[in-house]
């Protein structure tokens, strides 16, 4: 197989190149890929650059949703007034993905396709009910983001498919969001636990809640037991404790070089509890929006 490095200027061209050579490695910000040992890096001879494709760039409003191009950098995401306004949890996540230099290069689509369980933005996508627009030889298809990660670094991308856009439904009125990364230090860190929340509060009670966590399982996960424990409950300390206990109980984290399973379970519960207390406090102050 001959070596190749393509830098297509349209999505069609990218898809066609990938169809012609399924061995091409799609790359964008390269913030994970380039960390490889030099011998492995130099063995990557057939690469497909996704950073110059207009269809993969930009953040735009569509009917009932916002679509974010896969090659959008975290810097652009964090700076976007639209994202900050509608998806503050995502904007917050974007601001804690590495330092400035990393944010300038790392892309949302890369975070998704790279499928690390520690990807900071991924629990947010779960909590916000994101869908992915995948582009492939047969055209584009939409896939609920929750069905994308099949296992540790395994995804539902079909051969020849690329992540083209991330579609986030406009949050219903009254939705509150929260994001918290517990990392190995205060900046430029890999997460020990990441938690994202989106909830709709009506009359002091939780009408609907999505809770998701990263770095606690081989893939980012929705905290279904915690959500069930929260649904319909009125906000307050008791509910917060109950939901936190459910969250800590439903995950099976591991010991690794960054943290311990015990601590991860503990801190996940604490963060969930704090998020619910904060929502309650904001609600009581009339600040929930």
């Amino acid at each position: 197989m001959s070596a190749a490095a393509f830098s297509p200027r349209s999505l069609d061209a990218a898809v066609a190149a990938l169809a012609a050579d399924p061995g091409l490695l799609p790359i964008a910000g390269c913030t994970d890929l380039m960390v490889a040992d030099p011998l492995r890096r130099l063995a990557m001879e057939r690469v497909l650059d996704l950073t110059r494709i207009p269809e993969l760039a930009g953040i735009r409003e569509v009917e009932g949703a916002v679509e974010i191009g896969a090659a959008t950098t975290f810097r652009a995401l964090g700076d976007s007034p639209l994202v900050r306004d509608l998806f503050p949890a995502l904007a917050e996540a974007a601001r804690v993905v590495g330092g400035w230099q990393i944010q300038n290069r790392a892309t949302l689509g890369g975070n998704v396709a790279n499928a690390s369980p520690a990807g900071d933005s991924l629990p947010v996508l779960l909590a916000l009910d994101a869908a992915l627009v995948l582009a492939g030889p047969a055209g584009t298809r939409a896939l609920p983001y929750g069905e994308f990660h099949l296992g540790y670094r395994k995804t539902a991308l079909a051969p020849g498919e690329l992540v083209a856009r991330v579609r986030l439904p406009r949050p219903a009125p009254g939705t509150v969001q929260a994001f918290r990364k517990v990392g190995t230090r205060e900046a430029q860190s890999i997460s020990k636990v990441v938690v994202a929340l989106a909830a709709r509060v009506e009359g002091g009670a939780i009408a609907e809640i999505h809770l998701a966590a990263g770095s606690v399982a081989p893939v980012p996960v929705r905290l279904r037991a915690a959500e069930a424990a929260a649904a319909g409950r009125s906000l307050g300390a008791e509910t917060a404790e109950r939901v936190a206990a459910a969250a800590a109980g439903e995950i099976k984290p591991i010991d690794d070089v960054r943290s311990s399973a015990d601590y991860r379970r503990f801190v996940l519960g604490r963060v969930v509890r704090r998020m619910l207390l904060d929502i309650g406090a904001a609600g009581a102050a009339g600040g929930a929006a």
């Binding site: 390269c30 960390v35 990393i102």
Partner: protein, 161 residues
């Protein structure tokens, strides 16, 4: 296999040839002998290899050569030649922002990008901008003094007199 890309390095058009996945860091240091850009970790963690890529600070150890086509790249050597950088560089030295000098080029490049966007940043803004640049010598105090308007530089300048 190798590719050739055309990029402006410190304002000068260059044809750069190498493996498509060669690190911009190595191309700068080895092909162009621009050794001001340093390698501190090779893994995107320390910031010592920071350069400006179309005006934005990026880590040159994580940029493959073939993505550099038609890009503007500025290194510490290029910034150092800008006449308006001189006062900043002098202030950086005077404030104690430099000790061993290995992180310094990366910090200078990142700080310069910050000052281009915000002429008088405060400590919080400097911390935000430099969170991806590790320094092991200064405790960051000298760097904050050199860059942040509210870092207490005046008091210390006085003491230095």
């Amino acid at each position: 296999m190798s590719v050739t890309v055309r990029a402006a390095v410190n304002g000068e058009e260059r044809a750069l040839t190498g493996h498509p996945m060669a690190r911009l860091l190595d191309v700068l240091r080895e092909s162009l002998e621009l050794t001001g850009t340093k390698e501190g970790c090779g893994e995107g963690e320390c910031g010592a290899c920071t350069v400006l890529f179309d005006g934005e600070p990026v880590l040159s150890c994580l940029v493959p050569l073939f993505q550099c086509d038609e890009r503007q790249i500025e290194t510490v050597e290029g910034l150092a030649e800008a006449p308006r950088a001189r006062a900043f560089l002098d202030r950086f030295v005077a404030a104690g922002g430099v000790q061993c000098g290995a992180c310094t080029p990366g910090i200078i490049v990142t700080a310069w990008a910050l000052l281009e966007r915000e002429a008088r940043p405060d400590v919080e803004a400097v911390r935000d901008a430099l969170a991806g640049n590790l320094c092991r010598c200064t405790g960051y105090e000298g760097i904050l003094r050199a860059l942040a308007v509210d870092a207490g530089a005046d008091e210390t300048e006085e003491a230095a007199r």
